[in-house]
Symmetry: C2
Subunit: 385 residues, 2 copies
């Protein structure tokens, strides 16, 4: 891996964007990114595009060529799908492109349009990230994560209240993120009184259905890096696990996250104590608890108590703030865009562009993007350049 940098980030608002199509979102975000970085599409050597549901929801595949059309390029455009890790995976492969191609510049775009179909249709489409047997059994993702939550709570004597502190924190952070879907706080009581979706998980334990797009520019050209604000890519690693949870030996841990994190820290030559900001994959509140332990920040079983104690809130004073963007829960979860938004949030934090949610003196940040119930995990570490 040569020296690689994130040199720009753009995002649309995340939310229910009724008046914008999937490709309106892509066009808006790629245009904004080129404007911010003062680059032209012709200077981009390749594009990686993370999108999960375009095929199922809109009968829309071959989106590499669609992006080529929108950008007016003949350069390679790669569409990457890894369920909810599509964005992180697109970034990971884009970094691989830079490793393989000296002196190049790559755009990474993530986008998803989820509100153009009914709730039942989008729930079924999202189920596509589960195994065939799980789908036949009627398991949706709230059901799958609900089972993980039950196992975790039983193993470490936690209550639903311990889960609820994660969304409370993330909604608080989102009040400081103008692109977030929900820029309002929720109280612990509101989370606990919200209706069950799949016990013990409730509506306010769950990330929403969202539209949105995010994009970053990465390069290994030192000349481009020196033109504006840049963050260094220290590592981006992927691991997989069985798609079906029935094939796993434990359900209180996502092994793909454990493996990807170990690889990433080794590659970056850093440890968990070096990380000042992290964006972790809180598709459901339990997922943030598991992530904190699986990434190695805390011991197994500690997350329930430590998140409840407010250790990772921005008003706690460090040493680690988690999901300054608001996380999937409050920033929104347009699936293909999520992994790119996480990287973009780290870029803002590491370059002092975090605005009201800036974490002071952040030298290193970690992004954690998960596919399905943990069948894929991408862990990326960025550093001040």
């Amino acid at each position: 891996m040569n020296n690689q940098y994130v040199i720009g980030y753009a995002t649309t608002k995340f939310g229910e964007l009724w008046d914008l199509s999937l490709y309106d979102l892509v066009q808006q975000v790629t245009g904004a990114l080129l404007e911010k970085t003062k680059l032209e599409a012709g200077m981009i050597d390749a594009v990686f595009y993370g999108n999960m549901l375009g095929g199922i929801v809109e009968n829309n595949l071959h989106s590499g060529a669609k992006l080529a059309e929108l950008l007016g390029t003949h350069a390679p455009v790669y569409r990457i799908e890894a369920a909810c890790a599509s964005g992180g995976m697109a970034f990971h492969l884009a970094s691989m492109y830079l490793t393989a191609h000296p002196e190049s510049t790559v755009m990474v775009v993530g986008a998803e349009k989820m509100t153009d179909v009914s709730p039942a249709e989008i729930t079924k489409a999202l189920q596509s990230a589960a195994s065939g047997e799980e789908q036949l059994a009627g398991l949706t993702f709230p059901g799958l994560y609900g089972m993980l939550a039950r196992v975790y709570m039983d193993a470490y004597n936690y209550t639903e209240e311990h889960l609820a502190y994660a969304p409370v924190k993330n909604h608080f952070h989102a009040t400081r993120n103008p692109s977030a879907q929900f820029q309002r706080e929720v109280s612990l009581e509101q989370v606990l009184k919200s209706p069950y979706i799949a016990s013990p998980l409730k509506v306010l334990d769950s990330s929403p259905i969202s539209d949105g797009a995010a994009a970053v520019l990465i390069t290994n050209r030192e000349s481009l890096k020196n033109k504006g604000k840049a963050a260094k890519i220290s590592a981006t690693e992927v691991a997989t696990d069985s798609i079906s949870i029935k094939h796993r030996s434990r359900l209180d841990t996502l092994e793909a996250t454990v493996i990807a994190a170990k690889k990433a820290f080794k590659k970056a030559r850093l440890t968990t104590t070096d990380i000042a900001v992290a964006e972790v994959h809180d598709c459901f509140s339990i997922a943030e608890l598991l992530a904190m332990e699986d990434l190695g920040f805390w011991e197994k079983g500690e997350a329930g108590a430590r998140i409840a104690a407010g250790e990772t809130r921005i008003d706690h004073g460090g040493p680690l703030v988690v999901n300054t963007s608001g996380g999937l829960k409050a920033s929104g979860h347009p699936v293909g865009a999520t992994g790119i938004k996480q990287i973009g949030e780290l870029y803002l934090q590491l370059t002092g562009q975090g605005g009201a949610r800036q974490v002071a003196n952040a030298a290193h940040g970690l992004a954690h993007n998960v596919g399905g119930s943990g069948g894929t995990a991408v862990v990326t570490i960025l550093s001040q350049s």
Copy 2:
């Protein structure tokens, strides 16, 4: 690009495989490949998986994790979708992985299951490779390629008979390929008398709906390369074009093919006269004519006459034999598998394993895989190692 080699190939039979699911096919082909190469799944550093339609046809995404489950691995598994170029694109990115990772071994799998839904459903699913406007206009791929055929025939004074020689040749070649879907000859008269699908294209101008899977192993480990038969990867390049044909300046050429081929020949430091065997993307007969010209083998407008003269038949005596596998037309076109089968066919030819369809003294081979109506093209060149 370091020295990279194809060191093994396996394929299922292509055809209407009613008794096998998509993942049965994947399991069959990956098992056969590991057995042939005497490797274990644990020795594979990464897997690239080309599949187009799993999401739409079977609500089946996140197949990277499904393959991880089938192979019992935690290694990265990347699912790549680029319409009918999904297989070629997976191979291209797998080669990029080797460039970025010295001393590694990668499996590339392509698979598609197309016969589990009705003809109307699979036609609509395939339409997903066209732009939204083209879909709204009711254009299917026979319609799109029919328009290209009409433009080409008008420009160079060709008749439907000139198109028909390509499928006649490819069916002839398929009689020598035991994995081909149609191991029987068709006559010129049969092609010309077959029913129109989208004038001037007829049933026997068109590749079929197929099930099948194909897989190759590639490595940059010299020690592994020396263990068995190997072909060298000399180049694999990608270019894109607008997904909609309305945005193109010419319709008698696929510009993405032209650009990808130029890049590939430059990278490989070879010219068209070095190529003894080629697998080109004959989804419709017109596509083979365009490919021969766009790849640079012949001048614009020559292909109708030269294919009719039998120049690229295996019984012609060279210098270039095209689609020894039977091409998409007669070997079958399980879309995600096609690009990998093309590579595999070159591997067999370059290592003297071509059996009844072996082309003598083939030193270099070219594979050409196209997405949609030409929005994506992948051109790969393999050489004797």
